[in-house]
């Protein structure tokens, strides 16, 4: 920022103007600026736990849009109605910046009692003992997970501790513009198409409609992940990478081929898709026929386009996909109200009324009985469709992989960087793969 007053201001007019801007004033002005624009980073931590008893005010923090906020607030209000001594301090915001804020709150000794988290950060938090191990609550039955799919529950376990409880289930979904395909008499993609078939289909679509057939997902970790699992590899194995430079080279080469055949958008448009939130995915903005998303994002996508959308699994063998916790509820380890917080998680997952209120906004309900009930009563067509597709896919799901390890958020951003390097033609697939794997090794070391 600039000083509000130029250094020459305030000099009496009419006096000898030669002395107006002296070296002394200049230095003073600069010193003032230096003080006004300090460069400081730091954080002070303090926290004190007092005894419990009486009314409880539980702080809850989540990311999402207005719709989710409304649903969540309603569900929490229902809890208060049933437990009048428990009220909530609710904070929510968009996904971008959410984890910065959560980390800052934690550092400031003021983390929320109950917070939403996803698999990108679960291990980061659990590995630093920020999250409460919910295992004892599970064992004592205070946290009822008897109706959860086993693999979904296990996807919340880090280093043998139950760090988060799935707030919903989702899986990878390839969303396509049905209207565009029908209008041009083109076939819709199907689950089980091979990657080659998918790319050939996309090329055909691009030629006929002039809309690129598929967004090049080479920068997308969840697409790479599925593809790796189909090759018998994985994103992580223990504390190591589950793939090699050769694997990534083949992945990047696959998509270079697709770009060369004109099946994908131009690099800058791909970049736009890579860096946009769900409401601006290319299938919605009409810049691509397909987008690579999570199945439960269908309703959100649908809200932003008039066209009809369809959703199938990612190409290749769908058993490479798994019941992924779209997000978890976790409890801060130092929370004064941990029992209450766990009870709220239990309520949000197992209370029929609460689950009905929440719908599929965070993914399919984790409780299978209630999931069936919600599926019957849901009216939103896009939601209905995503439930149907995911339920079909659930028959084919393979076992869950391990939760991504510490450093995963960096691995994600390094993948984007390397893939875009290849997309813009600044690196060959082999160079980009080499760059990516080197960076990953440093990130998870």
């Amino acid at each position: 920022m600039h000083p509000a007053t130029p250094p020459t201001a305030g000099a009496p007019a009419g006096r000898n103007h030669r002395t107006l801007l002296t070296r002394r004033r200049l230095v003073r002005g600069l010193a003032a600026v230096a003080l006004a624009a300090p460069l400081a980073l730091g954080a002070a931590g303090c926290g004190d736990d007092a005894g419990d008893g009486g009314p409880v005010k539980l702080s809850v923090f989540w990311w999402g849009g207005d719709a989710r906020a409304k649903l969540t607030e309603d569900a929490l209000a229902l809890y208060t109605k049933k437990h009048p001594d428990v009220t909530f301090e609710k904070t929510w915001q968009a996904n971008q910046g959410y984890f910065d804020k959560l980390a800052t709150l934690t550092a400031g000794g003021n983390p929320p009692d109950l917070f939403q988290i996803d698999d990108n950060y679960l291990a980061e938090y659990a590995g630093r003992s920020t999250t409460l191990d919910l295992g004892s609550y599970r064992d004592s039955g205070k946290l009822d997970v008897s109706k959860f799919p086993k693999s979904l529950l296990e996807y919340g376990v880090v280093d043998g501790k139950l760090a988060g409880v799935a707030a919903g289930e989702n899986t990878q979904g390839l969303v396509y513009n049905k209207t565009l395909l029908t209008r041009n008499g083109l076939p819709e993609p199907t689950t089980g198409m091979s990657w080659e078939e998918h790319i050939a289909w996309a090329e055909q679509v691009a030629k006929k409609t002039k809309v690129p057939g598929t967004q090049d997902p080479s920068a997308d970790y969840k697409a790479l992940w599925v593809w790796l699992r189909q090759q018998g590899k994985d994103l992580y194995k223990g504390t190591e990478l589950g793939f090699t430079v050769e694997d990534v080279t083949r992945w990047f080469a696959l998509w270079k081929g697709a770009r060369d055949r004109g099946a994908t958008p131009k690099p800058d448009v791909i970049h736009e898709g890579n860096s946009s939130d769900v409401t601006k995915q290319l299938v919605v903005t009409g810049k691509s026929t397909t987008s690579w998303v999570w199945v439960n994002q269908m309703p959100d996508l649908k809200k932003n386009t008039k066209d009809e959308l369809g959703v199938v699994a990612y190409p290749g063998d769908p058993s490479a996909q798994w019941a992924r916790a779209s997000m978890y509820w976790s409890v801060f380890k130092g929370s004064k109200h941990r029992d209450t917080a766990v009870d709220v998680i239990n309520f949000l997952n197992n209370d029929p009324e609460a689950v009905a209120l929440l719908g599929t906004d965070r993914g399919l309900p984790s409780n299978l009985d209630l999931r069936a009930k919600v599926s019957e009563t849901v009216t939103d067509p896009a939601m209905k469709q995503s439930i149907q597709v995911e339920s079909e896919l659930a028959q084919k799901f393979g076992p869950s992989p391990q939760v991504p390890i510490k450093g995963h958020s960096k691995v994600k951003s390094e993948l984007t960087k390397a893939a875009e390097n290849a997309q813009y033609g600044r690196a060959t697939p082999a160079q980009a793969a080499e760059q990516f794997v080197t960076a990953c090794k440093a990130a998870i070391a």
Binding site: F99, T106, R128, S275
Partner: protein, 326 residues
């Protein structure tokens, strides 16, 4: 930085003769001094509590593996490891240094040139010149705002207003903000466009140039260019110096626009990875606050060094009227 300016000032002023004593006997001076500090105390307490202490803390953190989530009491001392990694094992650190230097080297001189040029134009007694001054200053009022950056990004999209404008002339524009070869340039143009603050300072400086000098020069037959070179520039040199130092520091610290343009990633392909953005990502996204603190300290020292270089070269081209007096 502030603490060193006091001795620095006396040494630089050098032997220009005794300065007039402004105060009388010691007693009165002491009383006034105390009152001064009392009046200063709100600021002083703020400085210590909000700036100095966290800065010292971050200096300590820069020698640790602090990751934000772990309590401060449990951080591990890692010695110079963070600094070592920065200089030897993190290519993206040096990339960020390059991006920042490129940005500052291009944007700062152009911004100052634009500011000076417009200030010269507006330093006339036109009718309505005040309105123009206001209009030119306006972009700077919006300053580092997020809203402005969002507007900018949308203007320079592939289908943004700028390309629609180019299309009027049959020119097909580029996707400026999502092309790694152009994204940083787009940010530079944004920075240059916000030349209002240095412009106002230049204007104030121009007003101080004695009219007699121009008259004398004109009598001696100097044309407009010659008058600018021989009168305006030397008389304005302290103001130029001031703006140069300020804008350089400001340029190094550019963050908001880069953050908005890249959604906080420094993309496309790290082309907008400014130093401060890299620092932010390290601290808050990668949860390596110890490493980020080390970066902040190197940054502080680098800026101090650049400023010191400016001051040491200043004596060759900055003309202070007070120095000439004696």
């Amino acid at each position: 930085m502030a603490l060193t300016t006091a001795p620095g000032r006396t040494s630089r002023t050098g032997p220009v003769g005794p300065r007039p004593t402004r105060r009388g006997a010691g007693r009165a001076r002491y009383g006034e001094g105390l009152a001064g500090y009392v009046f200063l105390s709100p600021w002083l307490i703020g400085l210590m509590g909000i700036t100095a202490l966290p800065m010292l803390l971050s200096l300590w953190l820069s020698f640790t593996d602090y990751d934000i989530l772990t309590p401060l009491s449990e951080v591990r001392w890692v010695g110079l490891a963070n600094y070592e990694r920065m200089f030897t094992a993190d290519p993206s650190y040096w990339h960020a240094v390059r991006v920042t230097l490129t940005f500052a080297l291009v944007a700062v001189p152009l911004k100052l040139a634009a500011a000076l040029g417009v200030a010269l134009l507006l330093n006339r007694a036109w009718r309505g010149v005040g309105l123009f001054r206001g209009l030119f200053y306006l972009p700077s009022l919006l300053g580092g705002s997020v809203a402005l950056a969002i507007v900018w990004v949308n203007m320079f999209n592939r289908d943004g207003a700028f390309n629609s404008f180019l299309a009027l002339f049959g020119v097909e524009g580029l996707p400026w903000v999502s092309d790694p070869d152009w994204a940083l340039q787009t940010l530079m143009v944004l920075a240059i466009w916000q030349f209002g603050a240095p412009m106002v300072i230049f204007l104030a400086g121009l007003k101080q140039v004695p009219v007699e000098l121009y008259e004398a020069a004109a009598v001696d037959g100097a044309g407009a260019w010659r008058r600018f070179r021989a009168v305006t520039l030397p008389m304005l040199s302290p103001v130029i110096f001031f703006n140069l130092v300020l804008e350089t520091i400001h340029g190094f610290q550019g963050f908001t626009a880069a953050f908005v343009l890249s959604n906080g990633t420094g993309g496309p392909v790290d082309s907008t990875l400014m130093y401060t953005l890299k620092l932010y990502i390290s601290g808050f996204t990668d949860l390596e606050m110890g490493y980020a603190s080390a970066m902040a300290w190197v940054f502080l020292l680098a800026i101090a060094l650049v400023t010191a270089v400016f001051f040491s070269t200043g004596r060759f081209w900055v003309h202070y009227s007070d120095g000439d007096d004696s």
